[in-house]
């Protein structure tokens, strides 16, 4: 009775929508669900990642005809409450065997909760918060990433501020609404105070656009370095407003600042801005330059940001894992479980460096320090110990 009732509802709805053509086994591609912020506050993150994914997908399509896959994109609009329903839809209605996304750690956490219960692996191109892979109770054992973690990035930022910028006193600007912002500033503070520095913390929210008082107040604390622990839509205007109040004080940040919109939003400024990232187009490494060329060809001369490179690497990670899993599955379409098993310990060389997914489901990779002055300039590359 229950079963027939269900079947009836589904049939009625299917008629209504005029779809529901049962998938034929012959062309049963691996569905890769992609959830990214294509619009809203963090739109450049999503757009760049998607560009990177697409470049990789185009290459792979010709490379391996036996590997049939399909990317399904869902725009989470940079809204946290959109992520869970959209991830559910990708899994339940589009039949995704693996989900790739999202960028902001807090949003990826929402996707992880859904994926955990559905038993689907989640591969995030750019969410760096440690908790995602550490708190398995919440997010499960199947969250992977192709980027480094904030514990690494934050430590490197702390060292950079202490050793290279010779700062003794820092102010950290934190958005409590973003797991990334909180986590990064915590890691920075740990390292910077361990080295002997002093950190004070002030808070902002992304709903607010007026940071005049905040900027003034921070300037009054006389810091020697200012950490904007957050994303570019807030960091850009802060840098713009800080022209007088933070004169001569270097500003640092994490990969959340890595967006082509950062400098236009910051406007004309003399500020010294440095941030840690995964990749920078002005890096002279031949692998990087090869990708830059491909990207410029595909997108009318635009330079790829770190998110594009990570998107590209994420697609390759999916491909490599699928290849490995297919071998385990005897040539058929791999199941989510097999994909997840294949992602463990996966090794390949991406454009953001050699990627070896370790036991913490995170690769150990180099961090690039970028100087943002007029353009994103390569400053330094630090390999993990």
């Amino acid at each position: 009775m229950r079963r027939s009732l269900r079947a009836a509802t589904v049939a009625v709805l299917a008629l209504l929508g005029g779809v529901a053509t049962p998938a034929r086994a012959a062309d049963d591609p691996l569905v890769v669900g992609v959830v990214l912020p294509m619009s809203g506050d963090n739109a450049t993150f999503g757009q760049e990642s998607w560009n990177g994914l697409q470049i990789a997908a185009k290459e792979l399509e010709g490379k391996d005809p036996s590997f049939a896959f399909k990317l399904v994109l869902s725009d989470e609009q940079s809204k946290r409450e959109q992520v869970a329903p959209q991830t559910k839809q990708l899994i339940e209605n589009n039949g995704a065997s693996i989900v790739v996304g999202s960028v902001a750690s807090s949003n990826t956490m929402q996707a992880a909760v859904v994926c955990k219960e559905a038993g689907i692996p989640l591969l995030t191109p750019a969410s760096t918060n440690d908790k995602l892979t550490a708190e398995t109770e919440k997010y499960g054992e199947d969250v992977f990433r192709v980027c480094f973690k904030d514990s690494f990035q934050g430590t490197m930022l702390g060292r950079f501020a202490w050793k290279t910028l010779h700062a003794k006193k820092a102010v950290a600007l934190v958005d409590k609404g973003q797991a990334y912002s909180v986590g990064l500033s915590e890691q920075f503070t740990r390292e910077f105070t361990a080295l002997g520095g002093k950190v004070e913390t002030e808070y902002y929210t992304s709903a607010d656009k007026d940071y005049t008082t905040l900027v003034q107040k921070v300037g009054g604390m006389k810091p020697e370095v200012i950490l904007i622990s957050g994303y570019y839509p807030q960091a850009g205007p802060m840098i713009k407003l800080s022209k007088d109040a933070w004169k001569g004080v270097p500003i640092i940040g994490g990969d959340g600042l890595d967006s082509p919109d950062l400098l236009p939003l910051a406007g004309e400024t003399d500020a010294q801005v440095y941030f840690t990232s995964h990749f920078v187009a002005s890096d002279e490494d031949p692998v990087v330059q090869g990708f830059v060329k491909k990207y410029q060809e595909a997108y009318a001369g635009a330079d790829p940001g770190a998110m594009a490179a990570l998107g590209y690497d994420a697609m390759y990670a999916v491909y490599e894992a699928a290849k490995k899993a297919r071998a385990a599955a005897g040539g058929g379409k791999p199941t989510p479980k097999q994909l997840s098993a294949a992602l463990r310990g996966l090794e390949f060389t991406g454009v953001t460096g050699k990627i070896v997914i370790g036991p913490d489901r995170t690769p150990r990779k180099a961090v690039v320090i970028v100087k943002a002055s007029g353009a994103f300039q390569f400053f330094e590359k630090i390999q993990p110990e």
Binding site: E202, D208, G220, A245
Partner: protein, 393 residues
Amino acid sequence: MSPRLRLLLQALPALALGYVVVRMLVGDVGGGTTLLDYLSIGVTQGAIYAFVALGYTMVYGIIRLINFAHGEFFMAGAFAGYFVLRDAGIERWALPQPWPVLLAYLAALLAAALVAGTLALVAEAACYRPIRKAGRVAALLTAVGLSLLLQNLARQWPAIGPTQRPWPAPRMWAAADEVPSPADAHYYELKTFTSPTGERVEREKPVVFKGATMTPAVRQRLAAEGGRNVFRKGELSRTVVDRSIVLMLAAAAVGLWFLVQRTRTGKAMRAVSEDMAAARLMGVNVDRVIAATFFLGAFLAGLGGVAYCAKYGQVDPLTGFMPGLKAFIAAVLGGIGSIPGAVVGGLFLGVSENLFAAEVSTEWKDVLAFVLLVVVLLLKPTGLMGRPYREKV
């Protein structure tokens, strides 16, 4: 409410004020900034709130509608101003010659005010007029629906789009061969890119990085890259922007007062606000008066939109949300329905928010507005400048 609690609540503002005065006399609150600096920041922000609050208050005063879409009129105005400034090519003008910049800004303000006002007229005729008799809840929900509609239309509209854009700022332009050598600057070139959505966007691409000087070699390279469009950037200084915002508010407030108190339209507005049925019987064209009120309110919101975005340097479809909400609170604080109340409420909210953020906590800043709102509603529901409440039986 017990009298003791009421006394305590009434004593709080006095204590806060006393504290602020003492702190100001003491001076420096850290790093060479005084509380007076924060006061001036607060006044500018309050002026923007006041611009928006005026529209809320006028519309409420006349038809008792909380016009939730008012923040979207503000946003529409801001975008109109954005397009005028951008298309006027303000980025190409040099700051040392202020007249073109000033003219472009005047044109932008006018366009913003007119676009916002027209939008309000259309909205009033299409949505608010038909629903006027259907009850307050239905009218309120219509306003919310309109707000959502305008926000999302802007997000989907290809010319606007869902992401934030930097506000156009005047730049100093020079062709590559006109730059004296050696000279320090950022040098940029305008290049057209195809965005991921397929849109053609013009974006500056740095050609020589900061710290480079214009040497013959650089000039040669720029010339080789076709660098006629090389420019260095300049910007309006913050104090200029701040002062013009406050001046603009003063002018608008005086103009509005004159209009409401001294003209026939103003008289009609006051009459409709007092008693719509009686005004109609006295031959006032009520529909027109209401339309005029919407237009005027949105006109001011449009001005506020340009001021806000010029100050914070960006514009996006959600620009109107936060200032709209805060301005609404400001209008209630000042006494919704009262024009001087909107100005007082706006300034009061702007100043207290910024002093609170500076002195107490940036974390709890946003709760302050709502707590103030509740306290004022409980003590004096009709607001700081409102008329006493009387109920028709």
